[in-house]
Symmetry: C2
Subunit: 149 residues, 2 copies
Amino acid sequence: MSQDNAGVDLETSLGYLLKEASSALRAAMEEALRPFGMNVTRYACLELLAQRPGLSNSELARGAFVTRQSMNVLLQALEREGYVTRPAEAPVGKVLPTRLTPLGRRSLEKATAAVRSVEVRMLTGMTGTEQSEAFRLLRSMIRSLRDAG
Amino acid sequence: MSQDNAGVDLETSLGYLLKEASSALRAAMEEALRPFGMNVTRYACLELLAQRPGLSNSELARGAFVTRQSMNVLLQALEREGYVTRPAEAPVGKVLPTRLTPLGRRSLEKATAAVRSVEVRMLTGMTGTEQSEAFRLLRSMIRSLRDAG
DNA sequence: TGACTCATGTCAGCATTCTGACATAAGCTC
DNA sequence: GAGCTTATGTCAGAATGCTGACATGAGTCA
């Protein structure tokens, strides 16, 4: 197993495990969303808009962990397909507040159940205390990464 | 804050937080690797080969969380640039065992220090016990996701 | 041996996301 | 107001990763 090397040991690296968990979660979500003709980024965008109506393109991009250019492409598609609406002109500045249409809301509701079942499955076997602890530890990692970013 | 909706509350979703942590880690690693002309997938491939020489294309793909088609493209580039070698013919079956060249090893060594510093930074403020706990909890999530995948 | 299943390497085409660039608007300082 | 910085929306091109498909080799089982 070549234990005595100078590199990062992937078997015991928390960063590698984090990537592995995230990859498994993403795969499970993509699979769950496929029947609805949706992918993770699309779902994240709709879910963000459901919880915080009027978010701008850039805010949605940050919330879905993609660039604002990528989110712009997605929003144009969602708008064309009638899932969201944006005013033709910015009420203030350049920011275009986006909102779900009834169609978008219906589409989201169907997908939400599937996504929630994936999250429930992921938490199987963990107590409430352990879930809180996982939450706290992940928050700590995020903060540390950002601080000296 | 629209608390009383039926959707997944992103503010308290462990899945969302997992994605956020993974995204922050990836961004930090890409930034750390950029000075060396490397990205995360490239680094993961070299690191895997350093720890387990002779891995095949498919095995590397699984270890780096990409498809074997993507890894194949990467390996062809790494081979062309002289970082890895593969036999012209498979010793057994179709599997082509890949190995680092001295150039590949030197390239990896320079990047490893940068990557390790990112991981150290991420773990800042966590005790050894907490790191073990994080490891255990992530493993649990991965297992649960795979089981009914 | 033959049929079946599974894993592998690889090619081609497509989808998604990114980087680079530009114009514009808001806020802040002098 | 003038100048600077920052943030935004958007377009264009490039990089990256994925799905689909095919041929091939190994293992299993009747």
